[in-house]
């Protein structure tokens, strides 16, 4: 079974990258559990999907497949 490769596209510069290990956890002093993704190209950062957002994506993805 092949693992799916999840790719992020940076909203700032359009760079396509693998978001794993791209968190800024070492930087923020108050955010040990902070889920921020940093674009390796331009350093633009934005929150990663948490449980709720991930669940919503799965639900929306499923309903899209069913419509097809």
């Amino acid at each position: 079974m092949a693992l799916a490769i999840i790719q992020e596209t940076c909203p700032m510069c359009g760079f396509v990258f693998d978001p794993s290990a791209r968190g800024c956890s070492s930087g923020c002093p108050l955010a040990s559990g902070c889920r921020i993704t940093c674009c390796p190209q331009c350093l633009y950062s934005y929150p990663q999907e948490g449980r709720l957002a991930g669940a919503l994506r799965r639900i929306l993805g499923r309903s899209k497949q069913e419509r097809r």
């Binding site: 490769i5 790719q7 596209t9 940076c10 909203p11 700032m12 510069c13 359009g14 760079f15 396509v16 990258f17 800024c24 930087g27 923020c28 002093p29 108050l30 955010a31 559990g33 902070c34 889920r35 921020i36 390796p40 190209q41 331009c42 350093l43 633009y44 950062s45 934005y46 929150p47 990663q48 999907e49 948490g50 449980r51 709720l52 957002a53 919503l56 994506r57 929306l60 993805g61 899209k64």
Partner: protein
């Protein structure tokens, strides 16, 4: 297992051809040296590992802290030394890493280059290919991650690309060792590229004249050196100073000045733009996308309008007005009214009140938690339900006031991101920043600050000089409201007149530019160029917008809500010991006398040290009944503007302060804090003074 050896910096006076090579490297035939070059994050290290196996040495490039990996591989049947260079977006360096990569090429006369390119981001890779072509080094192009590119509907015509560049093009997937045999076999076919990025006549003439003054026989050819020099690359000038006499150096400096005088922008920018145009033509001829990823001509035109020098401004005004309406009306009026009044005030607060009274006996603990019976909660000091109650204030501010406002703002922000407008906004802002002498890379932290100032402060690392980093950190802390605060600002301004809103916008913008301009004068640093690859303008997908907004809400709840609760506890404790009324009295000359605010706003300013948006929420809660009833007076509008200006100019939040400490050190962070707090009150007082006379 790889070994790590830190090499000490060699002394000055080294020759160009020798620098960067170890004794072992220099002893061999240079044609047996292969240098891996590529943009950051294209899989160079993966390819290096796949080619060289387990044994590699890592050492600092002489005189720098940048690491270069060296290993051995058998390529085209020859035992070959392989060097992995730091990721570089260009050969006219803008960072130490790029300079090391350029210096290795400059020093490795006769080496062969494998350019590793991320096939998903081909355009960026071709920009580097164009510079390798210009430098005349023999190279072969490895289109890495080609499987991912195909999966995204990107089709690259390798034969056509190879013909256009005049070098072999090989598709690889380094992590799966795919394409490595072909890469190894075709390495012997590596040659200088025939692709030439032509510049306009003025630049070409200057290049020709500079070439005539430059030495030959270096690792890279004189045309590339001429371009670097004319683009203002001081590092290459310093190196050439050892080989050129004063007359030639003077001639080159004169050429550089003459070319700089011919353009309003920097020559580096002019050259980069014209090179990009040549690369775009090549890219368009070799790369096709599936229909789903193609951009319509209409959207492409719209994208150009949004960045146009004049059309871009009304477009920006419309975008801001739409955000203001969406957040201020839908978020702050409809959603907050419902959540705060109908859910919290009318249902949750009475529900918790009755629950506690039903479970606990009257007196003691019951009174501590929910206050005396029959007294409105805003008039007693209950721990859960009360003036500074955990539920009636902490959760109510966090969930009923700020959450609906930031939700609408996050949705609007996601639209700006997914549509591709945000990077175009950065280009527009860059023009404004040029005026205050802080152009270039400073734009990114500033735009990022609109999302989160704390993260943006960390991003200030990308600035080249310490001075630029300091200015950016100061401006972020001073005048860039984060998303949550911006949302509450939109909400409050929607409740006052448009003229009052303009007063606020003018005051903050003026402070931002005045302080930025003064800081740029006091700490003069070289402005860097701003080169940003723009993603296409797209119609945002609703599903994506919803997921992104929810991801941001989750992040906000995790980060902000605990601080809201902590702030409420602080206020509760201060209220219990009677410190609030003492502080109100002590600060009355400033809050009431100087700023013209009601004494009750003192609490909002105290918690403002934890988070600015919490302070803004406190102000919102204070004025919202008047806004809702339509009874807000002219004096109150002045108070709203003064309070918002003062809070906006505060340190964004306690996390931001600690980030400043971490990034800039205690002394600098304390100095910034020591400047910002009195400055914020000073500007607030000035706005109060001016508005009471002219509003």
């Amino acid at each position: 297992m790889s070994s790590r050896e830190n090499t000490a910096a060699v002394g000055s006076g080294h020759s160009i051809a020798a620098e960067g090579l170890s004794e072992g490297d220099r002893a061999r035939n240079p044609s047996d040296v292969v240098v891996l070059v590529g943009n950051p994050n294209v899989g160079k290290s993966a390819l290096f590992g796949a080619l060289t196996g387990k044994y590699a040495t890592v050492s600092n490039y002489p005189g720098t802290t940048v690491e270069v990996m060296r290993g051995w591989a058998t390529l085209s049947g020859h035992r070959t030394r392989v060097l992995d260079t730091p990721g570089a977006n260009g050969l006219t360096p803008m960072s130490e890493e790029e300079q090391v990569t350029r210096d290795i090429l400059l020093g490795e006369a006769g080496c062969t280059v494998i350019q590793v390119c991320d096939a998903k981001n081909l355009r960026r890779g071709l920009l580097l290919s164009a510079q390798l072509a210009e430098s005349g080094v023999p190279f072969i192009l490895a289109l890495n991650m080609s499987d991912e590119a195909k999966a995204r509907g990107i089709r690259i015509d390798c034969e056509k690309l190879s013909a256009a560049l005049g070098v072999p093009v090989v598709e690889t997937v380094a992590v799966e060792r795919k394409g490595l045999r072909a890469l190894s076999e075709r390495l012997n076919e590596a040659r200088p590229s025939r692709f030439v990025a032509r510049y306009d006549a003025t630049v070409e003439t200057a290049i020709d004249e500079a070439e005539a003054l430059l030495p030959r026989g270096r690792g890279i050819n004189p045309r590339a050196l001429a371009v670097m020099l004319l683009a203002g690359d001081e590092s290459v000038r310093e190196r050439l100073a050892e080989d050129l006499n004063q007359a030639r150096l003077g001639g080159l400096a004169q050429l550089q000045r003459r070319l700089a005088a011919a353009y309003p922008e920097s020559v580096r920018f002019v050259i980069a733009r014209q090179r990009l145009a040549a690369v775009d033509r090549l890219y368009a001829s070799v790369c096709a996308r599936d229909q789903s990823t193609q951009q319509s001509p209409w959207l492409a035109r719209l994208g150009a309008w949004t960045m146009h020098r004049w059309l871009g401004l009304p477009f920006l005004a419309v975008v801001l007005w739409l955000c203001y309406q969406f957040v201020g009306v839908l978020g702050a009026k409809v959603a907050v009214d419902f959540l705060e009044k109908s859910v919290f005030e009318d249902r949750l607060v009475p529900l918790f009140d009755s629950l506690v009274r039903a479970v606990l006996p009257a007196g003691g603990l019951q009174q501590f938690l929910v206050g005396p019976s029959g007294v409105p909660f805003r008039e007693h000091g209950g721990f859960l339900i009360g003036r500074y109650g955990l539920i009636s204030m902490g959760l109510s501010y966090g969930l009923a006031i700020v959450l609906p406002i930031v939700t609408t703002f996050f949705l609007a922000f996601s639209v700006l991101e997914d549509s591709g407008y945000l990077p175009r906004l950065a280009v527009m802002v860059n023009r404004l920043f040029k005026w205050m002498g802080l152009n270039g890379k400073a734009v990114l932290p500033m735009v990022l600050g609109l999302g989160c100032d704390t993260m943006a402060t960390m991003t200030a690392r990308i600035m080249e000089t310490k001075k630029e980093r300091l200015i950016v950190t100061l401006l972020l802390a001073l005048a860039i409201p984060c998303s949550a605060q911006l949302a509450v600002i939109f909400a409050m301004l929607a409740g006052v007149g448009s003229i009052a809103a303009l007063w606020f916008a003018a005051a903050v913008t003026l402070v931002l530019f005045l302080v930025g301009w003064l800081a740029a004068k006091v700490f003069p640093g070289r402005g860097s160029d701003f080169l940003l690859e723009l993603p296409p303008i797209r119609v945002p997908q609703l599903a994506n917008l919803l997921v992104k907004t929810l991801a941001r809400i989750e992040w906000y709840l995790r980060e902000a809500l605990p601080l809201f609760v902590l702030g409420t506890l602080v206020l509760f404790a201060l209220d219990r010991v009677g410190a609030i009324s003492v502080l109100e009295k002590a600060l009355a000359p400033v809050m009431v006398g100087f700023l013209g605010l009601p004494k009750e706003s003192t609490g909002a300013f105290i918690i403002g040290f934890l988070r600015r948006d919490y302070a803004a929420a406190g102000l919102f809660a204070h004025y919202q009944p008047f806004i809702r009833a339509g009874t807000i007076t002219r004096a109150m509008e002045i108070e709203v503007v003064v309070a918002l200006v003062t809070v906006t100019l505060f340190i964004p939040c306690i996390a931001n302060f600690f980030m400043m400490v971490k990034e800039r050190g205690w002394k600098t962070a304390a100095a910034i804090m020591g400047f910002i707090v009195p400055f914020a009150f000073g500007v607030g007082g000035l706005v109060n003074f001016l508005m009471r006379r002219f509003y």
